[in-house]
Amino acid sequence: MNLTSELNQIKNEVEKVAKDYGLNFFDTIFEIVDYDRMNEIASYGGFPTRYPHWKFGMEYEQLSKGYSYGLQKIYEMVINNNPCYAYLLESNELVDQKLVMAHVFGHSDFFKCNSWFDKTNRKAIDTMANHGSRIRSYIKKYGYDAVEDFLNYCLSIDNLIDPYTPFIKRRDEKKYKDDEPEKPVNKIESKDYMDSFINPMDFVEKQIKKNEEDKLKEKRFPEQKEKDVLLFILEYAPLEKWQQNILSMIREESYYFAPQAQTKIMNEGWASYWHSTIMTVNCLIDSEIIDYADHHSSTLGVYPGRINPYKLGLELFRDIEDRWNKGKFGKDYEECDDIRDLKNWDKNLGLGRQKIFEVRKIHNDITFIDTFLTKEFVSTQKMFTFKLDNYLNNYVIQDRDFKKIKETLLFNLTNLGQPFIYVIDGNYKNRGELYLKHRFEGIPLQKNYARDTLKNICKLWARPINLETVEENKDILISFDGNNFKESFIGLRK
């Protein structure tokens, strides 16, 4: 349903205020939906025309149950698209709709202006619908079960992408080179009679060996380890045309959604910053204050065992604004050790607003936290790290140390919180087996999941799959040959 005239008026009002603040967003189209439709759209990740798959049905089951038990309610959804689409819940109060619209304009500005979204498809709604109809046509042609099974395999590895790929050229396109002349041994220049001293035998041998290794490297496949496992499988697995097509669609969608995961804290923080600014400074009328405060505080509530991205993002943007307004940055400030001076530091620079606009343009969550999370912020926000206490079977507060908290936060954001998996060899043992490696960063893989995932990859690759990973301080290799698992010990870790 389109906006009613009353809501349309509110929209125009909020939009004007947002523009006056300098927000720069796509045209934003609002649609009003009831809770059931909202749950449906949310289950499809915002795209009601997506391909059919039971995982969306599962999402729906959870959302609608959560709604009917009164545990959760989705107030709005925004789609990164040009024009930007936003869905409002029909049963929201007017003041909620106003808040939500202000929030939506924040998101829309972020989608348009944040650099990490530069390469995303701005016609995603059309693209997703095309994917949907193509997969439906495959279902007609090849049967529901075949397509569903294949989708299950693909979706099982949809996180094995390289989120930086859109910005970096990792490898050249394949070039077919002619035989090269044998590379001469790399000797240090010397007179004949000195040669055996300057280039002793073992040195020469080393150089010969190096040459051989280089040559071997060129034969290796892939030449360098490949982080985009999806791409590697897409290019080299023995798939039918329609299967390739599906896999490429899944990969495309993964890349489309990646920046949203990369900027969750910033994006929600930015939108919350603007809804609170627009509402409290401009748009609220007296009678709405209680409802606004209620809604706002429930969105920004914190729970001990979780970081609320709305809260963290909003507070951090406000902190940055305050610091740049008062000039609390730079050499002088950092080297000052008088606690009174620090507290009352105010150079009246007034650069805050300008700074946060700059931040929202160039940063993602990792650089955002890395650059702006300060010791003072962590302690005023009462942040801590927590860990499972195996004995109590309880999560307990582990530490309130700034460095530890920041490290943990950054670790959990790195690679979208997913383990690093690379393709090392696509022709392992010269038998066409796939060799994957988990780059160990201190946390092992969840094993039952890893095994099930290997099974699914094996269906795609059609040859045995090997995964090098770490367990209890040992390097191990888990192999799956299509029927059985085998684990072998590679070596102890130092």
């Binding site: 995982k55 049905g57 001990p304 065992g305 963290l312 206490d389 507060i397 946390i443 039952n448 890893a450």
Partner: protein
């Protein structure tokens, strides 16, 4: 409007059902299910139905949180908080609770155990028609006039036509405002059944054994309920004396006396004769005991009661012997010596929880 998600939602529900069916044996032998029983649905926890991914081991992850508390303060249990680590709101790994109707569950049980449909005792399988005054019509006799509805209609009409005067709120019904009570004809099934549960609560029956009885009777109930449109349950406990109790006391009473099984059979017979004329009812007595009867004499009394009275009125008579800490008694053998399956007496030995599965099959596999 038909939602597109319906298709995917149904597909998901089918997958869930398939999963439950596959694991049904697990669910049968473990008691989680009936703890979460609603009216017609049960909630079943099924772990890990999501798509597998390479992911970090949740249990070893460190997370960041916000709030008060010293180091070491617990902030949540692990079962309900799995995967909550990670900045942002990555959805945790939930244990999914899915709701399945008892009817579906019974069907799965039937398929899994290959249970035959119950053949109700040789009676006409017709349903009786009955009238209930539950609806409203525009015409009818004045004696059935529904005053409230009539008044509402009149008020509605007057407000709509503008003839309603707030200062003089006089509402006058016209002919067309009048509403009358009316009946609907409903089918009342004639074949009805009663399950009479008897349990030995003497000192030798422990909580563990009662739990087995409880799980087993849940599944028996579920199955028979799917086979009859109406079903009643009665509960009898006994040690050396027997009495009828409600469902709750049935599972929770513990006596210390000895065991005289015939007392229970007598009470059971009394209940049947008093309330359930056997021409109209399908009657299922189930007796659970550890089989340690008081005396040989009482064994004989039991046999006599079953042979001469109970079997005459019942569809079948089921005895489940639950093995106790002192081992199992003798009573099952006594029954087996005197009756066989053709007599409609079914005995089953339930050694432990795992044996429930086969025991259910023993009892219900006959289709009586």
């Amino acid at each position: 409007m038909v939602l597109k998600i319906e298709e995917d939602h149904n597909r998901f529900k089918n997958i869930v059902k398939g999963k439950i069916r596959k694991e049904l044996k697990e669910y049968i032998t473990h008691g989680e299910i009936f703890g979460k029983q609603g009216n017609d649905i049960v909630s079943i926890p099924i772990p890990q139905i999501e798509l597998p991914h390479f992911k970090y081991d949740d249990k070893q992850m460190t997370g960041v949180g916000q709030g008060d508390g010293d180091i070491g303060t617990p902030i949540g249990r692990s079962a309900d908080k799995q995967g909550s680590s990670g900045a942002g709101d990555s959805p945790g790994q939930h244990i999914l609770e899915v709701e399945v109707s008892l009817y579906d569950l019974a069907n799965m049980l039937g398929e899994e155990l290959q249970l035959p449909k119950v053949q109700p005792k040789g009676k006409k399988n017709i349903t009786e028609l009955k009238d209930r005054y539950t609806s409203v019509r525009n015409v009818g006799p004045e004696s059935l006039r529904n005053f409230k509805r009539t008044f509402q209609q009149a008020l509605k009409r007057q407000v709509a036509s503008g003839s309603y005067n707030k200062k003089n709120p006089l509402v006058i019904p016209e002919r067309r405002d009048k509403r009358y009570k009316s009946w609907k004809t409903i089918n009342k099934p004639e074949t009805s059944a009663v399950i009479i549960y008897m349990m030995d609560v003497s000192g030798s029956m422990t909580d563990e054994q009662k739990n087995i009885v409880r799980i087993e009777s849940f599944w028996i109930d579920t199955w028979l309920r799917s086979q009859y449109k109406e079903i009643e349950s009665r509960y009898i406990i006994h040690d050396s004396e027997a009495k009828e109790v409600d469902r709750d006391s049935f599972y929770h009473t513990r006596e210390s006396g000895g065991t005289k099984i015939s007392s229970a059979y007598q009470v059971c017979l009394d209940i049947i004769l008093k309330n359930y004329p056997f021409e109209e009812w399908n009657i299922y007595p189930f007796h659970f005991s550890d089989g340690d009867n008081w005396s040989k004499d009482d064994d004989a009394t039991c046999i006599k009661l079953i042979k001469n009275n109970i079997l005459k009125v019942c569809n079948m008579f089921c005895y489940g012997q639950v093995q106790g800490i002192y081992g199992a008694g003798n009573f099952k053998r006594v029954l087996d010596d005197n009756f066989n399956i053709e007599d409609n007496v079914i005995t089953s030995e339930i050694v432990n929880k795992e044996a429930i599965y086969n025991s259910i099959k023993d009892f219900l596999g006959k289709g009586k």
